[in-house]
Structure formats: C-alpha cells, structure tokens
Symmetry: D2
Subunit: 456 residues, 4 copies
C-alpha cells in the first residue's frame, strides 16, 4: 500500500480508509469503472454482453502494476491511457471494443474518486458513530460531574463534564449528518466523453451514463461535471466539518489531560504514550495524533477550493490537483476519526480530580453567581463593581470571596441591601446549584442523538 509514508502511517493512516485511497484502492476503483462502463455499453446494446463480461473478469487490480501504469502515465499526465492499454491487452480481442468506449480519462478518474469515497465513508461513519456513542455515554454518566468551565484558558463558571460531552455529541452528529447528506446527493458517476457531449456515442450517451451509474452504485449525474466540481467541493466541505469537529474534541482532551489538570486520561496498552527518553511519560497520544491529522486538513480544503476554477471543458492543471489531495483528505479525516473513536471509547474521566480542581480554584468561579444575585437590587454596574472589589480584597487578604463578602462591612451591608442572608450566600457558592440549563441541554443532545440513530 502506498499513498503515505509508512513510517508516519500510525499517526496519519490509521484505520481502513487508508487502504481505499492507496494505489491499490485507486487501481481497483478505476478498473471497476472501466468494467462498469463495459456493462453499461452492453445494456445499451452497443457492445456484446460477452465483451462486457470479459472486461469485468479482467478488471482485477492484482493483475496490474500500479508502478508500471504510473510510469507510463508520464506521456498523458494521467494514468488512464496506460491503464486502458493494459486492460486492452488483458482481454481477448473481441472484448477490446468494450474498453473505455466513449470515455475520457476524467470520466474514469472522477467516477473512481466517487467509488473510493463511497467505499471510505462507511468506515468513517463507523468510527464517528462509535465516537458519538461514547460521547452520549459520557454525557449521560457525567451529567452531574461538576467541573470548572474554562474560557480563554482561564477558570470561568462551573459546568459538568456531561455538558462538555453533550457539545461533542451534538457536533459529531452534525458532522455525520453532513456526510450522510453528501452520500445521498453527491456520490455522482461521471461520464461525459471528451468535452461533455458524449458525441462518440451518438445520441445514446445520456442513457449509457445512467446505466454506468447503476452499475457502479453511484448517482446518475444530470449533466457531466468535468468542470463544475460541486461533488468534490461538497466532499471537501463535509470532511472539513468532520475534521474541525474532531479537532475540537481531541484538543479538549489534550488540555484536560495536562499534567496540571489530569481530569481525563487516555487508556491504552503497554507503552502507549511513551517517550524515547523520559520513562515517566504517558502522553495522550491518541488525541495528539487526531489533532495532528486535523491540522493538515484546512490547507488541503483550500487547495481543492482553489482548484474549482476549472477552465473550459477540462482544466489545465486544476483537475490533476484533486486526486492526491482528495485522497489525503479522506485518509487524514479517516485516521483522525479512528483515533477519536479509540480515545473516546477508552477515556478515563477523573470525577474526583475535577471536583478537587474546582475546589482549589476557590470561590472566584462563582463570583458571577453572586453578581447576578445582586443585580436585581443593585443594578448591573454596581453589582459588578462590588464583586470585583470583593475579589480584590479576597486576593489581598488570602481569604475566600465568600468570607470576604460576609465579613467586610461594606460588602455585607450591600448583601443585606440585596436581601441576601448568610445561608443564601452559602448556597450561591455551591457549584452544583449554579448549572442553569445544563441538564436541559444534555437532555436535548441525547434526545437528538437517539432520534438520529433511529433514522439511520
């Protein structure tokens, strides 16, 4: 298998998608398109059924050498003419007429890309489904696991780990929805001949295009899309969305797993996350690998988007750009999804540590709660200024915000003015009672996920 560096494949080519976008995957997909075309021509009565059968029988990747075809591709700038020549030699003479009849190279490459995508998506979906299922489980199990919310990498107000997982779940299901919509609407066959007229087939071209799509299990295009790259752009958008979603989750895990936080940890076999020099290391290597994959995606998406500026009936360069780029995009997103599925499936959540970190943070994360309790009577700006002053006083004195509010006369008088007594004040500093709609939001994410799974 090629298509990536084996040495770095553990990170960037994890899971089964990598094989689909390899030389072998491409070779088989292009052969499948040629065979499908032969059968489509036979269904239209343009070549004998026996010819189509012979082409189909010969169209097995193991009978061809991608290295040889690749070398022969230099003359044309793409491998199809060399593949057609090799396939022509591999079939009996009577069957040669059924090979590549009426097609242009781009018909084969585009249809093959869509076949490869069709074959890759179920693997990607399986990993995303597993990740979503793990996120749902985490959301449910940790609906009441209170922890620090963090904004701009600073302590904010409390959240629950379940809410965090619910946010992951929502995004994962949105990414899955995008991929499904893509699969349902954009997995188009390509068949247009030299310039999109299919003139070599007389007036039978459109009919053969329909048969070809059926043979390949792809969608019949309304018209050739040689230079209207909607399917490629939609693929790249859906993979981008998926990658961006994985990036956020994996990034959260690398941050929560920081030695100073230790709120989550990846599980993994012996040696996982080790270092070549530091014996104590247990790096969260799964989420780091996932992040690495996703950071290579935006540049590739931009490349495909730039390539949409295709000239006339076939671009001079822009078309060629897509094959390796789209392959990498599938491979990297597939690898990231595989890592994420693994990471979320085995994530160890340290509820105890979350609680400790929250306690260690002191009362500041609940300053907002006090502030909002004061606003109705004191107004927004006076309430905020008062709490800020109390926070400063607390910091200077080394005492808690709660203590400071209760003991310092100027603050305690304001509390009295706002009608907040000591027990109410104490209640304001209970994180579990400052979670607002978190349970509602978790419930929605879980309900939507259940509905999504039912539709599947």
């Amino acid at each position: 298998m090629s298509g990536d560096l084996e040495l770095f494949g553990a990170v960037f080519a994890r899971g089964p998608v990598a094989a689909e976008v390899s030389d072998r995957g491409w070779l088989q997909a292009m052969l499948d398109v040629e065979a499908g075309l032969a059968r489509a021509l036979a269904r239209a009565g343009l070549v004998p059924p026996a010819a189509a059968e012979a082409v189909t029988a010969a169209a097995r990747a193991e009978q061809f050498s991608s290295a040889e075809i690749g070398r022969a591709a230099e003359a044309a700038g793409n491998p199809v003419p060399a593949l057609v020549a090799a396939l022509g030699k591999a079939v009996p003479e009577h069957a040669r007429q059924a090979v590549h009849f009426g097609a242009t190279s781009q018909d084969i490459v585009d249809s093959a890309l869509m076949l490869i995508t069709k074959r890759s998506l179920p693997y990607l979906e399986a990993d995303l489904a597993a990740a979503a299922s793990s996120a749902a489980r985490l959301a449910e199990q940790h609906a009441a696991s209170v922890m620090l919310g963090r904004t701009l990498l600073q302590h904010a107000t409390p959240v629950t780990f379940g809410l965090k997982a619910a946010g992951w779940l929502y995004a994962l299901d949105q990414a899955r929805l995008s991929l499904r919509t893509f699969a349902r609407t954009q997995l188009l066959a390509q068949f247009g001949g030299a310039t999109g007229t299919l003139a070599a087939l007389g007036t039978r071209g459109a009919e053969v295009a329909g048969f070809l799509a059926q043979e390949l299990g792809l969608i019949e295009p309304r018209l050739p899309w040689h230079t209207a790259r909607i399917p490629v752009l939609q693929l790249s958008a859906s993979l981008g969305l998926t990658s961006g979603t994985i990036a956020k989750i994996a990034r959260d895990i690398t941050l929560l797993a920081q030695s100073e936080l230790e709120e989550v940890a990846e599980s993994g076999g012996a040696g996982r996350g080790g270092s070549s020099t530091m014996p104590h290391k247990h790096n969260p290597i799964g989420s780091i690998a996932a992040v690495s994959c996703t950071r290579r995606v935006p540049g590739l998406v931009a490349t495909l988007l730039s390539a949409a500026e295709q000239e006339h009936e076939r671009g001079a360069g822009s078309w060629h750009v897509e094959t390796e780029t789209a392959s990498e995009l599938l491979r990297l997103t597939g690898s990231a999804a595989s890592w994420l599925s693994d990471v979320l499936g085995g994530l160890r959540v340290n509820r105890q540590r979350m609680r400790e970190n929250l306690e260690r943070a002191g009362s500041a994360p609940l300053a907002e709660a006090v502030s909002f309790a004061l606003i109705p009577k004191l107004g927004r700006s006076r309430a905020q200024e008062l709490v800020k002053a109390a926070l400063e006083r607390a910091a200077d004195s080394g005492q808690s915000l709660q203590h400071t509010l209760r003991e310092a006369p100027e603050f305690s008088s304001a509390l009295a003015e706002a009608g907040i007594d000591d027990s109410q004040l104490a209640a304001l500093f209970e994180p579990a009672s400052y979670l607002g709609s978190a349970p509602e939001f978790i419930g929605r994410a879980l309900a939507d996920h259940a509905a999504f799974e039912t539709q599947s």
Copy 2:
C-alpha cells in the same frame, strides 16, 4: 462604512453585502441582539416590558460610535463590554437591568454574525438568481451555437455555447441550493452565558434562548455552540462552494474574451475595462474582478476551518479569528456574485466568431468522430493509430484531415474497409452532427432550473 479599503472597494466590495458586514452593519446587528435579548427577558417575565422597550428604542447604530467602542474594546479583546456600557448609558436607569442580562460577549457576537449573514444572504441570492437566469437564457438561446470545446487549453471536440451555459447554470443552482439549506438549518441564535449553562438565569435560560431566537428571526439552537462551530463551518462551506462556482464561470469568460478568441465580450458603459496608458483596451473587467474576489476565498475558508479547534468553553484566540474573516468571506463572495450577475446579464456572445474559430481549427477537432466511426470495424487501437497517422500527414502536407483521408490510398482503403463512403466521411466533419447528448443535457439543466425556481 469600513471593513475594506475604499480604494479597492469597486472590485472587492461591490453590491449591498458590503454594507451589512461593515462597522455599521455589525454595530446595528449587535444592538439588535441586545434589544432582542431584552425583549426575550421580558417575555419570560424576568424584566419589565418597559425596560425591554427602552432598550429596543435605544438600540440604533447611529447613536453609537464604532470608533469609540472599538477603542474601548482593547481591555476585553472584544467590543461587547464597551457596547454594553454605552448601551447602559443610553437607556433610562430602570431599563439597565434588561441590558445583556445573562449573556456573554460571544452570545452577542455570534448572534450578530448570524443576523448579518441572514441580512446578506438575500442580496447574494438575488445576484446568483439573476446570474442563473442569465445562464438559463444563454443555454436556451445558444443551444445550437456550435463552438470549439477546449480541454487543457487545447482544441478538443465541438460543443455548443448552450452546453457551456448549462454547466454554469447547474453549478449556480447547486450553490444556491447550498445557501438555502444553510439558511433553513444553520442560522442559529447563540445564547449560553459564560460557559454554556445560562446559569445566571437559573433554570429559565433555555426558555429565554428560544424567545431570543424568535425575536431575532433566527433558529433556536438545541444547545449553545460557543465551541462547536457547525454554523460557521457550514457558512464557510456554502460560501466556498458559491465562490468556486463563480470562479469557474468568470474564468471561462476571461478566456473566451481573450483577444485571440473574442467569442464573448462584456458589455459596459463608457470607459469600462480601460487602461491608464493603452487607449485600445477593453478588458473584461467584470469577470477579472470576480476572479480576483474568488481567489481570496480559499485562504479565508482555511482560516475558519483552522479556527474550529476551539478550546474548552471558549477558545483563546480561535473565536476572535472568525469575525473579520467571516465578514470578508461574505463581502468577497457578495462582490463576486454582484460582478457575475452584471457580466452574465450583459454578456455579448459572438456566435459568428465561434463558428470562424471552429473553422480555422480545421478538421482536427473532429478526428475523434472519424476515429469512433472506424472503431467498430478496425478496433480501437488500429483506428486511433490510423487517424493519428492521417493527422500527421495532413499537418505535413498542409491539407485538411478530410482531404487526406479521402485521397491518400492507405487511408481511403481503410475507410472503404470500414464501409465509410465520401458522403459519410463529409458528414463526420460536420460539427453540428457531432454534439451527442448536448441537447439532452441542456434540456435537463433548464428543467431542473425551472423546477428550482418553482420551489423558491
């Protein structure tokens, strides 16, 4: 209006979208969100209706200075705290409790971005609809306007200008569909408070979020999406698709308008397309401007995609990246669409010149037709070799391919073997009879377009 360089705004800020994404547009949108929030709070009974009315009355951009608020934004790194302070001053004291209650800065900025998008999309859609309508007209009018197909910037087999326009039409309607799907599903309000729990509102947060969405005419989110950037990514994907589609069409026009081809020309008033030094110039400045806009889009899409890696409950830097970037993306796509609508609306198609260019190209573009006529009897490889040999002979002798095939004994005998007589040979060299399924494809694009317009 700011948000772009006025000096280059004719190219990059054409049309009404630019105003929506300007400082004024952002200021009004943020004020609208604050006012909507006040009314939502009032509907929930959390503030008096009079307070909400007062906030709504005060929330007019012309009463505030974006320069002043912008300067005051330095402390917080975003303009919302300064805006809230200014708005608080602008309302009577009784109304201050209704300002920004329970919201975090990102709630306001995200909801405002969605409002701005909602306001921009109809303009974008109007220009795309006009462009599609022009493309449909061109597809219909020029269904029989035969011209050279060109692949890799070289002469290929004949097409019609109608088929080319049909390809543009298909892509434009797909882009419009993508934008409509976005508008229907992703124009979400944002309301999550400090960390997505809406804790400041007790358990009423989710309800207020629903009211807020109604007040703003946005969709109620299922849960806060502070760090699950699906709507931003989907927006960027739809705008990218739109931009890529415009790029292809505009690029075709710059190529067809080349001085050596002159198959199309832009219309335009006096001086349009002039040069500061060459008096004879009529540059196709509309399509050039459209291309310029679209070439800035892939980098911006990549930036937004990279920014999806948001940390914890609010990203440290990644969130901030989005505002100007998304504004530019809207502005550039809007400007490109405005140029394209203008260009296609006035495109002058030179059918006569298309015919002449085709004739000047000689018989080579129909070599494929001869080749396919020979294949049934001679087989693929012999047919192709024979035609290539005849093309070389024709080039050497300075005579046409048709003449060479008919007169040179080795070719004429092969024609005889294939059962092709002189009149059949002549017919093979008639471009209009080598258009295959072009009429069918044009018909489909027009039918789909009609159906799309009916659904609108």
Copy 3:
C-alpha cells in the same frame, strides 16, 4: 482610517502599521509615486522641473477623496486611472504632461505597496526589537528560575524560564534578520509601463526607472517585476516567519497563564482582560489577541503564494488579489507585534509558583535523570524498564519515586549495582542540577542578541 473593522481594531489593528495600510496610507503612497515619477521625468529632462514641482505640491492625500476615487475605480478595476484623472485636475495645465507619463497602473500600485511596506517596517521592527529586548532581559533574570519543562502538554524534565525566554529571543532575532534582509534587498520600485518595455519613454525608460527609485527611496529594480512577484513573495515569507514566531511566544504565555499554572501573568491597566459577565476574570488578553492575529496569517500567505501564477505581462485577477491581502498581512503582523511587545514588556513571572508546580509534580520529571545515571552500568533498556517499574510502584503506593527507589529492595539493589548511593540519588532529584547545557544556550542567545544589536 479604514482597512479593517473599527469594532475589532483593538485586536487586529493595534499600533501604527494600521494607519500605513489604510486608505489614507495607500492614497498618499500612490500620490508619492506619481510625484516621484514626475521628478524622475524632470531629472531625465523629459518634463520641465516646474511641472514636477507642481505635481509634487499637489500630491497630498488630504486633497483627494479615497471614497470618490474608489467609486470611479469600477471602470478600470483599479483606482489608478481615477487617481490620475483627479491629480491631473489638481495641477496647472502646464504640469499635466508630468502626470503618470509612461506608467501603467501596476507601476503605481506596486511601488506604492513597497512604499507602504517601507513605512511600516520600522514600526514592526521597533515592536519586535522591544519584544526581543524584553526576552533578553527575561532570559538573563531567569537563567536560574527552574520550572517544569513540558512536552506534548505533559510534564517533562526541568528547564529554566531563562532558557524558554532565550528560545523566544533567538526566534525573534531571526525574524528581525529576515525583515532586515527583505528591506535591504527587496524594497523595489516598479516601473515598466504597459508591458514592461517602457516603450513610451523611447530608450530612456530604464534611466527614468533608476531616478524614480531614488526619488522614492526604493531600490532600482533590474527589470520590471509585474509578473515576477519575488518582492511580494519575500515580504509574505518574512511576515509569515515573524507571525509564526509571535504565535509560538504568545501561545506559551496563554498556556503558562492558565489558572492551573499561573506561572506568568500579563500586567495591564484596570479592566484589562475583563469579561462582560464574569467579575473575577483577568484573561491574558494581550497574548490571546496576538494569537488571534497570527492565526489569520497562514491563509493570507497562501493567497499571495497562489497569486504568484501571473499570466503573460499582467495577470487577469491574480495581480488585484495582492493589494488588500498584503495590507492585511502587514496590519495583522504589525498588530501582533505591538501586542507582543506590550505583553513581554510587562510580563509578570512567578518564580515561586514555578517552583511549587515543579514540586507538586513530584519526582517523575527527574525519572530521566535516574535512568541516565543507571544506563552506564545497566544498559539502556534495563535502566528504562527499571525506572518505569519504580514509577508504577510509586504511583500505586502514593510515595515518591526517590523513596521507592531507595526503599524497595529490587530497586535499591540495582542502584547499588550501578554504584549510586543515597546522597547521589538525592542529588539526582535536585532539578537545579539537571539543567545540562541550559546556561550555555542562554549565554549564546544573549551573545547573539548583543551582536545583532551592535550591527543594527
């Protein structure tokens, strides 16, 4: 001033570079080029000195409206023809012949871009110099401030804060060197006329180009570079390098400032880093803003790089792409540098907290030290396995690695075998004695910095 959204300008348009790349900056720069050209023509004897003086006198931005010129730019797709017309009207009739004689629009825009860059670089350099100077001070002051090294966001072996600052210093000085090399070699004037021949000036063109460069204080180009975009690509490379360097430093600060680490803090006036809802917040807003700026840079660099594919003697679209993009690149890098200079200038380093965090991390960060002490006698793999086993034992028992190694028989016997006694073991766990070449590296960075400053 325009060129950005004022509302977000505090983040993205900090410092004086923003004014240089604004409409006003561009207008003045283009006028300066026209005036410089008039004087160059006069020096060549092609126009009367009085005409050149009149043009120079009229070329003041405040006399022209960028909005008006921008609107008039629609016809040509660039503002130069409209500017030339306005400038022509602003000078006495005798001087009109000296306006724009022999120039093409791109001559003016390219030379203006280089002028703007020349004016921006000293500001950028001043901020980078200030940042480097602060980094040097920190490297010196904290050469012995031991802290946790962190790799993959996990505790690694000890470092000093001085070493970290030395790494920042090295990178900052490399970025400054790159910008200086750019300024010394690539700040080229542009003058080529319609197609790079300067034919309108007969054979005097190259001479006038030389005079023009002198008048503008730019470098005389060896030949016109209308479509050989070396200076733009080199600018974008140097700004990219600068931005990437700032990103690393600012990112470190956001991480070190995390509430859980608190090893550094930004200083700043009242309200700096505040939140619209959480009274306790002190976000490290300077480094966050710097990161935000730098994350927008890679996409812009890619856009400029794509635009290098310029066609023939002037690109159809690719040229236009550069003006706003290069302006943004300067603005964002300038803003990031301004933030960084501010942040490093006031950075509060909490040496005490660094020490505490290191202690809290226990003995694991020095596991490597033990491992290397064992290797000479036990061999690499046995040493590493032994230390890993001791780490696991220590984790299980809740005791320190040092204690475990000393007390558990299988470890203590191995230590004995390796000839390590108790006091040597204790020494291995002293972070300050496991800093290797850190002092040497700090010394080098400081020496190189001193040498660099001397050359300035």
Copy 4:
C-alpha cells in the same frame, strides 16, 4: 518507494527528490542521524569508538523495515522509539549504550528532515539551473523576436519573447538564490534532548551537538529549535518562492501554447500529450504537470506556517504535522522543477507565428505609441481621447488605425498639429521600434545570470 501515489507519480513525483523523501529516504536519514550521534558521543569520549563504529555499520536502511517500524510507531506517535529498539537489536550489546544516548525523538526527526533536505536541494538546484540556462538561451536567441504583449489576457503593446524569457530568468535566479541562502544558513542539526537542555549529557551536551552537526554535515545550531521552527519556515518560504516562480513560467507556456496562439510548443517523444479519446491532441503536458504541482504548494505552506505555533518545549500535534507536509513540499517542488527543466530545455518557439499573431491583431497594440507621440503637443487627455475616437472609427469602418488616422480629416489635422507626418506615422506602427528598454532589460538579466553562475 512510497510517499505518494505511484499512479499519479509521473506528475507529482518526477525526478530524484521523490526518492529522498520516501520511506526509504527517511529511514536512512534517521539511521544516519543515530549513527552520527554515536560518533559524536565517541568523539566526546562518552562512548567507546568501537560502539560508534558498530552503530554506524548497522545503520543501513535495507536492514530495517519501514512498514514494521511504522506499525510499532503507534504507541509513541512517532517512529523513533521503534527505530531505536530495532537499531539496538541490530548492534552488539557493547554498542547499545551509543544508540540514541541523550536524544529525544524530535532530535532524530528534525535532523533527518534537514539531512533529507540537504540531499534534495542539489537535485532541485540542478533542475532550476538547467531551467535558468534554457531561459537565458531563449532570452538571448529571441531578444528580437517581436510578439504581442498581453495584459489581463488581452492584447497590449508589443514585447519580445526574449524579454519574457528574461523575466523568467530573473525569477529563477532569485529562487535559486533563496535556496542557496537557506542551505548556507538554515540546514541545522537538532540536538536538545527531552526539553532542550541536554541534561542527560551533563554539561557536555552543547559540545556533542557540535560534533553531531559536523558528523552530519549540517550546521551547528546555536540552541535547540524544537519549538522555534525557523529552519522549517525558511525552507517552506524558499520552496514556496520556487514553486510560485515555476507556476508563472509554466502558466505562460500553457497560455502561449493554446491552439489559438501556438506561439510555443513543448517537444517530447511519441505520444507525449496524447488523450485517451482524441487522436489529434498534443497537450503541453509538461507545463500542465508543473502547474498542477505548484497549485498544491500554497496549502502546504499554510499548514507549516500554522504549525509554527508550537507549545512549551514540544508541541502537542503541531510538531507531527511537519514531517509528511515538508516531504510533500519537497517532492512537489522537485517534481515541478524537473518538469520545468524538461519543458524549457525543449521549448519550440514559433517566431513566425508570433509575428503573424501580432499582424492579425492589427494596429491597436500600437495605439499607445501614437498616443504618446501626440501627448507633447496635445496633452494627455486630448491625445488619449483622439486615439480612442480613431480606434472606434477604425473598428466601425473595418480599416486600420493607421489608415484612419491618416485619412480622416479630424485625425489628420491633429497629426499635423502635433507635427507628425506620414512617414513618422508609419514608423509609429512598426512594432520593432516600440520596444523601449526591452534590450536593456534583457541584457541586465543575462549579465546578472552570468554573475550568478560565476559565484556558484
């Protein structure tokens, strides 16, 4: 060899650079670094010379399996620990102490990347030198080959093909200079150990780093650059500059080779540029392939630039991003250079066709010449308006601009007023006399090139 898809390798992996960045190239380079480290340790007296010799003897890629090491890399997220284990097994026991002593994985990977780059650059330089030499030859041979200048894809004023080639030459030599500067200053070894202190080597680390650099033929770094990615950014900038330069040249060739222009053609063996369906095709496949390679570069450069934001002492994800990305960047730039060298070496320039195209364009391309001849007497605006009017009259009447100017009374009287007689008018329409400083510019490019070659 892997690292790319073999099927598309003819386009994207042409030339010898591809082998250097393959799995085999990486494996050998990493082994060379380990061996170099062993020798460096021996030179410092830290391990016995025999151990270093044994490691060096064992460090041959053919003895190791990149697939196996790649699979084993999953645990650590990078292949170094697995490689170190395999190398340890491959050497006698006494030599194991010399393997990887004091190094971290990134030391090996970074140094290997620099070795790979060092090995790739001479191939890249050879192809660029050949391309520059061809461009110099073309500039010289075609210094007087007059042709149409084209701006915005429209006819402009005349140029020579020699001037165009001189512009290519200038840019190629600038790209070469950039690569040489990189090689001279940035090919740094990396050696910092776990966190950049080299603590495992006591105080000998910096000394060993110097020896290592010598052993590898790389530059000794002043301090470890694990997270100060200057060398990677400078590499990416130089490759980007090279790629952008190739893009412009290759794009010009695809445009000049358009069937309608045919001013240049690629040479090439039988079948080069053929189509799978159209027998008449001779696509300029070399320049198309070069363009394809270069269009994938901006996205990769952006990815590397984004990865500069490295955290603390080693990035969590950003570091990993670089290996495959930098490999691809080298491969694609190397392939593009190989194609360009081939294309320029065999470029067929059709001087006759250039002349014909110029004649067919009529007199419009010289309208500027007339305009400038009139300006001294009539002033800029009257001169331009008069020529524009004459151009319109000529277009309407179907006669040449020259004829119209001479015959129509209002124009002939203006000519008389300007003191231009018929023979002077005729001279204005001679393209060869409207070339301005083109010969001077060509001469400069050739002189600079000669000087550059002398320095080599």
